[in-house]
């Protein structure tokens, strides 16, 4: 854990704190139908035109039910639209590579994935998606799903701040304004900055480059007809070495093992067919091209995370410099952080906004430090063998970013529901990999996905206020609004849904052939891979513990449903909560009022998140990363 890491971490937190207020103030304007921004002269006519086109009356507000229905309808249409493009991409323009259509289940998974702001990618972008698919089918959702999330958060905040109201705003207006005034302008600027760092932005076909240094890989030998050539060999097994008397040879009390042919019942060696491998020289490389910077800007800012290239932010084009790395991380948190300020402004209690922000920051720092510590400490087995002790765990990490920036990126991307990665989470140490997994299981409420982070955190705020609010001797009140049976029911329902989807699907996969067939690793690490996949899908994160082969009909379908549940079955109870809160009277604060700012509240909120939200996952985590950690530590250590 080097000084440079500490300095960067400090810089990151300071920069984030600095942009929170301006972003919050700007959000106040964007999320107010009559708000004023610098872009009004250009965008106002476009906004008006869009409403006319859609037939939206901008001054007509929705109640909770109408707002939710509008959101669901919008997402459904978007989903079908994307599905259609992906299935028909071979017939559509902007496909210089001539890529074919996606399979039904992959198209379903991908459409759902982008509509739910998850951006789980069961495909390899470079070899699957045409430019049109990337720019229209996928990038459209990068904007729209982000805007929809922010709209829901705004509706909930209005529900909290309005006194005895009925309506929560107009979904279409929120959607359009967020896209036009917030996401588009920032993305244009951000994309230009990224291009300045060396990120590509073009419509060229992929380039084939000659390698200056050729290398060889092993491939399966094929015969003239293209069939794999196999050979028959003896199966070898480990068995104890025996001395002349037939007794096992012992060294320090441990039996010495040796390779020996496996024998069948008749004492004959067991034979098996294996593929014959041959060396093949690689002297060219296909280099990806395309409109990358525009995609990456919204992928980060909108916490979408779906990479243009399969390597995501680890790809040199998709994350060229340390500065681009820093800015990408900052942009993941930018809007979510600003929304806490927006909350404080709207409820006229800025300290509350900062208290929520502080609770998020404490959880963020805790996660970052644990992950960084675990990765910097390295692999205990390497240490037992006396190799690579000083470097920490560099497996699966870009040398350009090193341990700290990989750990920070992993924490940021899973705190928010982004899912972009600049290193392989699968290759982290068990504890290092536990952090991203745990972050998503918390519900991605540490800054969180744009909008989704705030509304997820507010569910915990409501629960914290309810449980602890009783302790001050009043019917619990959140900012003057009574928290009663209905609110508790809806808040708990959203938690229950999260838990049900993650644990239910993972448990199903763990005992199914389709589930275990996709595993690259066995034992606790394999469990971690399945758990991570369903956690990431349910949490709408989209990052992957890369070991899992998920592009199968079963995984594509189950993960698709996990994403739908994690997004919409969360939003429905939360909007019901908003619809109920908005109708309530606001009791004026007094000395007996429950305080929702200050250190005590921050501690309380963190405690609630950990005790009510996270402890539920402890048993399964114990079977996965935790036991893996202890198995790594034992001597001799065990890897999976």
């Amino acid at each position: 854990m080097q000084t440079s890491g500490w300095l960067q971490l400090t810089l990151f937190v300071v920069a984030l704190a600095a942009i929170t207020k301006p972003m919050g103030l700007y959000l106040m304007q964007v999320l107010d139908a009559n708000g004023k921004t610098w872009f009004d002269p250009i965008l106002r006519p476009l906004e008006r035109f869009t409403y006319r086109l859609m037939g939206v009356k901008m001054d007509k507000e929705h109640d909770g039910k109408q707002y939710t229905l509008a959101m669901l309808l919008f997402s459904l249409v978007g989903c079908v639209f994307t599905y259609a493009i992906l299935r028909l991409q071979h017939l559509l323009p902007l496909n210089p590579q001539g890529l074919g259509p996606l399979s039904e289940h992959l198209a379903f998974n991908t459409a759902v994935s982008f509509a739910t702001n998850t951006n789980w990618q069961s495909y390899v972008g470079e070899t699957t998606m045409s430019y049109l698919s990337q720019m229209v089918a996928l990038a459209f959702h990068n904007f729209a799903s982000a805007a929809a999330g922010i709209a829901i958060a705004a509706a909930l905040v209005r529900g909290i701040s309005r006194q005895s109201g009925k309506t929560l705003g107009n979904f279409w207006v929120d959607l359009v304004r967020t896209t036009y005034y917030l996401l588009l302008p920032i993305c244009v600027v951000f994309a230009v900055v990224l291009v300045s760092q060396g990120m590509i932005q073009n419509f060229k076909a992929y380039t084939t480059a000659k390698l200056t240094e050729t290398y060889s890989i092993q491939v399966q030998k094929t015969d003239d007809k293209g069939q794999p050539v196999t050979t028959n060999v003896v199966v070898m097994v480990q068995s104890p070495k025996l001395d002349g008397k037939g007794q096992p040879v012992m060294t320090n009390g441990v039996a010495v093992m040796m390779e020996a042919p496996q024998l069948d019942a008749k004492g004959q060696p067991v034979m098996t067919n294996i593929a014959v491998m041959v060396d093949q020289t690689v002297d060219t490389q296909t280099i990806v091209q395309g409109p990358m910077a525009s995609q990456v800007a919204i992928k980060m800012l909108g916490t979408n995370g779906g990479g243009y290239a399969n390597a995501n932010a680890a790809h040199p084009f998709e994350n060229p410099t340390p500065l681009s790395n820093f800015l990408q991380m900052l942009s993941i948190f930018a809007i979510g952080s600003g929304l806490t300020y927006y909350l404080g402004r709207m409820v006229k209690n800025q300290n509350h906004g900062w208290a929520v922000w502080s609770a998020m920051m404490v959880l963020f720092l805790a996660g970052t430090l644990v992950c960084w510590w675990a990765e910097a400490k390295g692999n205990p087995i390497h240490q037992q063998l006396g190799v690579a002790v000083a470097d920490g765990n560099m497996e699966g990490k870009e040398v350009r970013f090193g341990i700290f920036n990989s750990a920070l990126f992993a924490t940021v991307t899973t705190d928010a529901s982004c899912g972009a990665v600049n290193s392989m989470h699968d290759s982290f140490t068990p504890i290092g990999g536990l952090v991203p997994l745990f972050n998503i299981q918390l519900g991605e409420i540490v800054i969180g996905g744009v909008g989704a982070g705030l509304y997820g955190m507010l569910v915990f705020v409501v629960l914290a206020v309810f449980i602890a609010g009783l302790m001050v001797g009043r019917t619990p009140e959140y900012l003057g609004k009574k928290i009663q049976a209905y609110e508790v029911k809806m808040a708990m329902l959203s938690l229950l849904v999260l838990c049900l989807s993650i644990l239910g699907f993972s448990a199903w996969a763990a005992v199914s052939d389709w589930g275990t067939a996709g595993l690259n690793n066995q034992g606790p690490h394999g469990l971690g891979e399945m758990l991570y996949a369903f956690t990431s899908a349910t949490g709408n994160n989209g990052s992957a513990f890369a070991g899992l082969t998920a592009n199968t009909p079963w995984y594509n379908t189950t993960l698709g449903f996990a994403m739908l549940i994690g997004r919409f079955l969360m939003i429905v109870p939360i909007m019901a909560l908003a619809g109920s809160l908005v109708q309530k009277k606001i009791s004026p604060p007094s000395i007996g009022t429950f305080p929702v700012s200050g250190g005590t509240f921050v501690v309380l909120l963190i405690g609630t998140v950990l005790l009510v939200g996270a402890l539920n996952f402890l048993p399964v985590l114990a079977l996965g990363p935790i036991v893996e950690h202890f198995l790594n530590l034992q001597v001799p250590g065990k890897l999976f």
Partner: protein, 680 residues
């Protein structure tokens, strides 16, 4: 009913409660409490496991089953003890509800009928030593009534027709005189009947916060159920065998059994504490609402002030000796039986040693107060060489008119004096003899001792007090300042009272008020917490949601505290219960994984002896903590008005942090004990 609360573990209550703990195992009753229902199902499944499980584990499973059943029984016991205290009181009340004969008036004739045949609207006669047969209003006569049966107070109270003291309660006894009562309640719906059913908890309904909390606990139970059920397939994948009893043990430890088991006991005990303060709350909802109250409307008279204006000073006119003024004022007041009149007599005696004379002077003629003259006084005819005297006292305007008519002058100095007294909130009473103005008596509302401190106490609790009075704004302001109320409402009519309550409510406040008169009824009904005085009218008692049997308006403060205590106790035990889970995870999870993954041993941070002892210790702790917390649930967590933040910090520290730490210690201690006893 007794003022003294029975000790927490009175054998008369505990005995039957043990029996009730078993009868409450009826699944139809248990299902109302989802947490304990799941525990009971778990206990039943574990019991089956004794016979189906491996022989080597039978002893362990048997012990597990026993402790799981104890967990359920302990929770039932807590509820039964809380109910038992009420039942004892209900039995005492039942004794008062003897079936009596009533003397019904029909067409002017009296007839004897059994009390239970009386109907609403009947009129009955009661004389000395008769037990009043039913609830009603006195429509004729005045009597002293012994209400000890319901209030526990042996001093008789006066009940009379008209006015605000007309309500009588069935089961109480007339001590003197004769009254005619109109029955206002059918048999079985009377005050005493309602009281019995309330005390017994027969009609107990969950309060809003209790419902919300039950939902939270049920949802947590569902989540943990999911956690434990999915653990089985995860175990299969990991080649770790999780036995059903172990999973049940984990489940029961994780679900919030502590608060789930004590929740209803807390509510019942809260109602019981209200009753011990001699307040009859019509529902738990009302008591809970009292904890939320942040505006308190109080009638000035009888609550803030002693209720009557008292003479506090004599202010003689220029050239008049104070003694003369005092003497005249006393003479004028001798026949005045109002408290003001009596206070003048007393003050004259205190200041100038003027003894109250025997006023039966022949020919002395008292002039009573009338609304027309707005004066009272006394006339002495000329006698024994003394000239005739005519002394008058009254409002300044009335005396000015009187003196003017007689050709006298109202002195300028007196006008000033009158104004000064008015400005200070007092009532000036001018005394004149003939056409000469003698001076002014300063009548003042006397604020009750200690009331200021009580209002300060309320302010600390976050409650604003509003004084309601019919006085003019000047007088009201002066008294408000002296009593230390936050706000006042002068010249208030019943309509304005109602309006004020609606306004406060519209601004988001919860309003409590006390009242006794019939014209208070609408306001009592509108208020979130309406406390009617037992001495009040039947209409007032019907409109409010609480009746104070002691008729002490400041009792509201006690009720508010109990309401808050109930909520604090629930919140604290919920926090404690949830915080407990941390230690239980650390006890049970390593124990369950140990067989398959010995490497996980370092996670057993409590160094519990063996997997079985670890699981059993956690389950035993989980059961015993319920018993240990019963006294707290019945007594309630103490409430001190130190502000919400300080209260929160204290309770978070005690029940949150304490809830994390205590089970670590408790489980370790139990593990040491059961290991020493060779139980596992």
């Amino acid at each position: 009913m007794t003022q003294k609360s029975p000790s927490l573990f009175d054998w008369n209550i505990v005995g039957p409660a043990i029996g009730d703990s078993f009868t409450k195992l009826n699944p139809r009753l248990m299902i109302k409490n989802p947490v304990m229902f799941v525990t009971m199902v778990g206990a039943a499944l574990t019991t089956v496991g004794i016979f189906t499980g491996a022989a080597s584990e039978r002893g362990f499973i048997l012990q597990l089953a026993i402790w799981l059943w104890f967990t359920v029984l302990f929770a039932n016991f807590a509820e039964a003890v809380a109910e038992g205290r009420g039942k004892a009181q209900a039995n005492a009340l039942r004794k008062a509800r003897k079936d009596t004969m009533a003397r019904r008036l029909k067409n002017g004739r009296e007839e004897k009928v059994p009390a239970n045949e009386l109907q609403k609207g009947d009129t009955v006669v009661c004389e000395a030593n008769d037990v009043i047969p039913a609830d009603g209003d006195v429509i004729e006569g005045i009597a002293s009534v012994d209400e000890a049966a319901i209030t526990g107070e042996s001093a008789p109270v006066i009940r009379e027709s008209g006015g605000d003291r007309s309500a009588v309660t069935g089961g109480t006894r007339v001590l003197s005189d004769r009254i005619v009562i109109r029955v206002t309640m059918d048999k079985g719906h009377g005050f005493l009947d309602r009281m019995i059913s309330l005390v017994e908890g027969a009609t107990r309904q969950k309060t809003p916060n209790e419902i919300a909390l039950t939902i939270l606990l049920a949802a947590l139970t569902l989540i943990f159920l999911l956690v434990c059920i999915t653990l089985k397939p995860f175990g299969i994948y990991s080649a770790a065998v999780f036995s059903v009893p172990a999973l049940i043990a984990l489940l029961v430890c994780l679900i919030p059994t502590t608060i789930g088991g004590l929740l209803s006991a807390i509510g019942i005990a809260g109602m019981d504490r209200v009753l011990q303060r001699n307040v009859l709350a019509m529902s738990g909802r009302a008591v809970e609402a009292a904890g939320d109250v942040d505006v308190l409307l109080l009638d000035k008279t009888g609550t803030i002030t002693l209720g009557n204006r008292m003479a506090t000073a004599f202010l003689p006119a220029p050239n008049v000796k104070p003694e003369r003024l005092a003497d005249a004022a006393q003479l004028a007041s001798l026949a005045d039986e109002t408290p003001e009149g009596r206070s003048i007599v007393v003050l004259a005696k205190e200041k100038f040693q003027l003894r109250a004379r025997e006023v039966a002077q022949p020919n002395a003629k008292f002039v009573p107060f009338t609304a027309q003259t707005r004066m009272s006084g006394v006339d002495f005819p000329a006698r024994d060489g003394q000239p005739a005297r005519a002394i008058r006292k009254g409002a300044a305007e009335a005396i000015r008119l009187y003196v003017d008519q007689l050709g006298g002058q109202f002195p300028q100095a007196m006008t000033q004096g009158v104004d000064e007294i008015s400005r200070s909130g007092g009532t000036p009473l001018v005394v004149a003899e003939g056409r000469e103005v003698l001076g002014v008596v300063h009548l003042k509302d006397v604020v009750k001792g200690g009331i200021k401190e009580r209002f300060a106490h309320l302010r600390k609790m976050g409650i604003r007090t509003v004084m309601i009075t019919g006085d003019n704004p000047l007088t009201a302001a002066a008294i408000a300042a002296e009593a230390g109320v936050d706000d006042f409402m002068a010249q208030a009519t019943p309509e304005q009272k109602l309006q004020r309550i609606r306004e406060e409510q519209a601004a988001g406040h919860l309003v409590a008020m006390t009242g006794d008169g019939t014209n208070d009824a609408p306001a009592l009904a509108q208020a979130d917490v309406g406390v009617a005085m037992n001495t009040g009218t039947q209409a007032a008692r019907e409109a409010g949601n609480m009746v104070d049997l002691d008729s002490n308006p400041t009792k509201l403060i006690d009720i508010v505290e109990i309401g808050k205590q109930m909520l604090i106790t629930r919140g604290s035990l919920t926090t404690f219960s949830i915080a407990n889970d941390v230690a239980k995870y650390f006890a049970i999870i390593p124990a369950m994984l140990m067989a398959t993954f010995p490497a996980i041993a370092p996670l057993n941070i409590m160094s519990l002896h063996s997997p079985m002892s670890a699981i059993l210790s956690a389950v035993i702790f989980n059961a015993l903590i319920i018993i240990a917390l019963i006294p707290l649930a019945l007594r309630g967590v103490k409430y001190t008005p130190i502000g919400a933040l300080a209260t929160l910090q204290r309770n978070l520290l005690v029940y949150g942090l304490g809830g994390v730490i205590i089970p670590f210690i408790g489980i370790k201690v139990i593990d040491v004990i059961i290991t020493a006893l060779n139980l596992v």
